[in-house]
Symmetry: C2
Subunit: 418 residues, 2 copies
Amino acid sequence: MTQHDHEPAAVSRRRLLGSVGAAGAGGLALGAVGGAAAHAAAQGEGGEPALATVGSTRVPFHGVHQPGITTPLQAYGHLVAFDLAHGAGRKEAAALLRRWSATARELMEGSTSVHGTDVARDAGPCSLTVTFGFGRGFFSRTGLKDRLPVQLAPLPEFSADALDQDRSGGDLWVQIGANDGLVAFAALRALQRQASGAARLRWHMSGFNRTPGATDRPRTVRNLMGQIDGTNNPKPSEKSFDRRIFVPHPAPSGSEEWMAGGSYAVLRRIRMLLDDWEKQPTHEQEKVIGRHKSDGSPLTGGGEHTDPKLSKRTADGSPVIAADAHIRVAAPESNDGAAMLRRSFSYHDGFREDGAPDAGLLFVAWQADPLRGFVPVQRKLDRGDALSRFIRHEASGLFAVPGGARRGEYVGQRLLES
Amino acid sequence: MTQHDHEPAAVSRRRLLGSVGAAGAGGLALGAVGGAAAHAAAQGEGGEPALATVGSTRVPFHGVHQPGITTPLQAYGHLVAFDLAHGAGRKEAAALLRRWSATARELMEGSTSVHGTDVARDAGPCSLTVTFGFGRGFFSRTGLKDRLPVQLAPLPEFSADALDQDRSGGDLWVQIGANDGLVAFAALRALQRQASGAARLRWHMSGFNRTPGATDRPRTVRNLMGQIDGTNNPKPSEKSFDRRIFVPHPAPSGSEEWMAGGSYAVLRRIRMLLDDWEKQPTHEQEKVIGRHKSDGSPLTGGGEHTDPKLSKRTADGSPVIAADAHIRVAAPESNDGAAMLRRSFSYHDGFREDGAPDAGLLFVAWQADPLRGFVPVQRKLDRGDALSRFIRHEASGLFAVPGGARRGEYVGQRLLES
């Protein structure tokens, strides 16, 4: 089993301890309603009850994996792609990754000594995570074409795609998450400034999720269709989790060391046709998904985490979960066990000319190999998913996310300096 | 003294009580790190310590004033303007305000029974507030031109304005705030759907602020320049607060009953030229503002809430707080005591073509009369504020915000039905 060291740690900075500590003997109980870590504790998922607040929770930068993959979803997210600047090559890319890694580490520790991050002052680390990935272009621009992983082969075209190339792809990808909007913004701006000269911003998307403490249903996320999302995600406690989500580490002989403990991220900006969706009565929406809207339970009964009985039929012989229901088509059983860890943000970029919201899901899926994760599932969904009528895939990205940096190392160093 | 009944109440819904109640005797202490209300309690500003979490905090809809004016700033905000539809008049406007008020009340209570608000399911009310205002056009469209308040006279043009009319003005204005992004989105969508036929969306802006619990400095807000903002705001505990911020209530004889307890909101979308700003060393930024960046204390010494000594001079005779420092030019002492309650959200709508962030402040100022609040202060700032070099006013709005609805009443009823 991998050490999942990016679960948030309950590390309080001195001045946060000042106020939290004042609660004295109530301290342990306090954790029970604090933040993400506290929720996990209340659930018995995170070990000991944590003396944490939304602000003081810190996620470590160094580790076997990069942060932001198994870290609980934060309330604010930025996804941003950069292209290496004209004339910038391997040397400039290495220097950039070194700067970026140092800054990410400092900010994730709650430091605001990096120039121009005063916005984050007064706040704790707020579960900030920064995750770096490389697109196909990164390898050609840095003269490392021979090191390009086969897993970065372009995604197939899907019939329902309507992709905006200006918001797709990119040499470098950065995922930022935090439970405070100002902390997330400070990280985004600091990284953008430090890119100056070496890389320029290609596209930027921002999203959000439930605020820790807003619900007493920990880790249950609803998307903008109102549907509970991610129920069937593989769980770190499952034996197959590491194999499906992460590239093996230590690297087996003959394989690239820099990707050991890494993962491949597929990004899809999926706009939801909410005006159409909301016109459907609840039972029609439930038929499309295959789950009850209220609690996420499958139409075949049980609770949110009960396995759907895909073969169950009604008295008249029709399947209870329809042939084109989203959960049937996407189910690992329907896709040779293909699985990915979905960790998405909702987005809402205002309204379109016709008054419809420009809103949906910044879908992010993590897997050891997209050909055994996203690709086969999306092939199925593309052809037969009842949900397709209500969504549009408008942007796409595929990035190699190196293993976590060791102490004294920067992300990607084992690729760029060997 | 007015009853400030829109301070958040610590009302837990049954299922939230389920988890919070489990903490038993630790309950009162729990409030001390919970949410906005809890912070107020820790400060002794809000009376008794509250048994509240970010999710369970509820702000009452009914009251002398509308909610969202003295309510502590929430983490997520939407500002949205509607124009009455062609052919819609007083009757349609009244029906719309009746629908909107009912929905706002239900959602603020944490109900998700309104169609299409499943997005907010599982979450508590999360300090949701909905505030309604009327622009000049509202009065002509509803045949109520003779009831147009003199306070809605168009704002003067300021020399530095670069206003986008498509994102300015509007017949109706709605301000939504909540400590959860999905709860805020649910409210926005519900109100938009209910406007259908009667009004159409004119513009929409969304913003954010610090997440409750992200900092142990309650009510201290930083803007995207990294500066502590709102320090010199009038405080409800001050004797002059009501007179400056709210229209008198009950209505003095001869004055309009519907505005009793109401207020006037000035909105300015202020883009910050962050690339230029961040190039300035900290001491230059502090000279522009007149305060220390770290803690918001005036350059003349003390803490954040120490009064600046505007007449203090250095040994060589120059003023310690420069003649064009933002806090000097904006100070009530420099403006015949003019004061407004600033309650702004930061915004970040991605990046412009040149890579500069489209980001800044959704400045919202509340006052009993804009001619004794925003207008004289902005006149001064427009001419002599050192900060002007780093900001652009890009949109503007002025709205009459009626007094709060009584039980059984909707917002604006005393205008529309008398």
